[in-house]
């Protein structure tokens, strides 16, 4: 048995016995199947139906990437501010 076998065996055992059993498959409030069906079903078609007409005028791929980056940026900023806000609230 090589050193690589020992290391791989240890890594595999760690993942199988310590990590995988802890990770859940579904979130308590929203199961994976419900999440996937919402995304890949009506939400996708709703988005396509709502924005497909704009494809003649705008680069929708660029628009959505930039819009997504704005939302993520604002969300991160909000999370940081919320953290500071909670600290101030607790301290009084």
């Amino acid at each position: 048995m090589s050193i690589a076998d020992i290391i791989l065996g240890l890594v595999t055992w760690t993942f199988q016995k310590l990590v995988l059993p802890v990770l859940p498959t579904n979130l308590p409030a929203l199961s994976y199947s419900e999440f996937n069906s919402i995304l890949s079903g009506t939400l996708k078609h709703n988005l396509i139906y709502s924005f497909s007409g704009l494809s003649q005028l705008f680069n929708l791929k660029l628009l959505f990437i930039l819009l997504g980056s704005i939302i993520i940026g604002e969300l991160l900023y909000w999370l940081v501010k919320a953290g500071f806000f909670l600290v101030k609230l607790i301290r009084g």
Partner: protein
């Protein structure tokens, strides 16, 4: 009691984060239709009495402006109003009333239907999807159900285990199902039309509502494996949609000679040996037909351990150097079995949170991106006439810097620059806010 400073923090929070709230509201609005599982809900009680359904609410329209569905109070299932079909009020000969349902794929709507003294009554429900050219229709006749009584009814749309969009109608004990035309993927409008045989015959519909009871007769309303299987349904994976769904339990196959587990029903050696997966033998219980053990294919692993160099063709110093190199490499190289085990262990993470949710989101974004890249038309309606915006002007070309450029490309680049400029403005303000 909060201090003045705490009050200022709380009430100053919302205005400063208005843009985030607006963005979230937009996405919730777009996604709100995706979260409901009824095609639409309307108890009809909010409308005035004796009102044409095409003016009864923003969601109700009629195919010719004069509806034959009317809001009435003479016969209701529940509440104060129902809608009834009549032929004696003025209107066109073939009327469909349409309710805008938004983009629903898997949805169930419960309602109640009544055929009053009808001798040729029919009600037809047609679901059209967002491009209005593909749909699914179902129909019920008064001969299918008892007349002069209210029937609990269900309209349902869903994807089957292949790639078909289906719709079904259940009225009392009557049930019918239909397959949608090709490329139907969701519903945005429900067309309802009816017919009766004489002026004193009526059809009533009432109380459209979301139906979500999960039981053996309504497996499609069960949203997770626990409740699905608890009700006796089957939790099934739709390969086409890559989602799990709850379906009625499969019918038990008749006990007759066949392949695999059905080998035990083969009573003669000839019938047994005709099956590819069966064999006839006596294991101490007399001659019987048994299923052959299937050959398990080797696991497909992308990671292959490199083989050691062949030293047999070498001689002298090269041979010994090759052998030493192989010995050192063999000390550090893993075996294929360990690599396979690691590969399968890492593969198990794909079904665990958050990997499965993230992969679902990435496939959603890539599918939306691919769909949005294809150009479509913009439908418009002027004075009741449907048409599409004409973009032929977009193909007009001009010469810029010696290159031929179409108006569409010029406008496209212009709007892209505007969008990028707006985004850079936001980026600068974001950086300034942080620092």
């Amino acid at each position: 009691m909060l201090s003045n400073q705490q009050n200022k923090l709380i009430w100053g929070f919302i205005p400063r984060h208005l843009i985030l709230i607006v963005c979230i509201a937009i996405f919730l609005f777009l996604g709100s239709n995706a979260l409901g599982i009824a095609h639409f809900e309307d108890d009809l009680d909010s409308y005035a009495d004796d009102v044409k359904m095409d003016s009864a609410g923003d969601e109700w329209t009629s195919s010719c402006g004069n509806s034959r569905w009317w809001s009435v109070d003479d016969k209701v299932f529940t509440g104060t109003r129902a809608m009834n079909w009549t032929i004696w009020r003025e209107g066109c000969n073939d009327i469909t009333n349409t309710f805008t349902t938004g983009g629903k794929t898997n949805a169930t709507t419960q309602f109640y239907m009544y055929f009053k003294d009808t001798t040729g009554g029919t009600v037809t429900f047609v679901f059209y999807d967002y491009n209005k050219t593909h749909g699914c229709s179902v129909q019920v006749d008064d001969g299918d159900v008892a007349i002069n009584s209210w029937h609990e009814s269900y309209l349902k749309t869903w994807f089957d285990g292949e790639s078909n969009f289906l719709c079904s109608l259940d009225v009392g004990f009557f049930s019918t199902q239909s397959t949608g035309t090709a490329q139907t993927v969701s519903t945005t409008q429900l067309y309802i039309s009816g017919s009766v045989g004489a002026e004193d015959e009526w059809i009533y519909l009432d109380d459209f509502q979301r139906y979500s009871l999960c039981d053996i007769d309504h497996c499609y309303n069960c949203l997770d494996s626990t409740t699905c299987e608890a009700e006796g349904c089957s939790w099934y994976f739709l390969f086409y949609k890559q989602i799990f769904t709850c379906i009625p339990p499969p019918e038990i196959d008749p006990e007759e000679c066949g392949e695999f587990y059905k080998c035990l029903y083969c009573l003669t050696q000839e019938a047994c040996e005709e099956m590819m997966t069966c064999f006839w033998t006596d294991i101490g219980l007399g001659d019987q037909c048994y299923q052959e053990e299937p050959a398990i294919p080797p696991s497909q692993v992308e990671w292959e351990v490199p083989e050691l160099e062949e030293c047999g063709e070498l001689s002298g110093t090269e041979y010994w150097l090759c052998e030493i190199k192989n010995d050192i490499a063999g000390f550090f190289l893993p075996s294929q079995e360990k690599v396979n085990a690691l590969y399968q262990t890492l593969g198990a993470f794909k079904d665990k949170f958050p990997i499965n949710y993230i992969s679902s989101m990435t496939s959603f974004f890539s599918e939306v991106t691919e769909s949005l890249e294809s150009t479509t038309t913009i439908p418009i309606e002027i004075l009741g006439q449907d048409s599409e915006v004409n973009f032929t002007l977009w193909d007009a070309t001009t010469t810029i810097g010696g290159e031929e450029e179409s108006l569409k490309n010029i406008l496209f680049d212009f709007t892209s620059v505007l969008v990028l400029f707006g985004w850079f403005t936001w980026l600068i303000s974001m950086v300034r806010r942080f620092f």
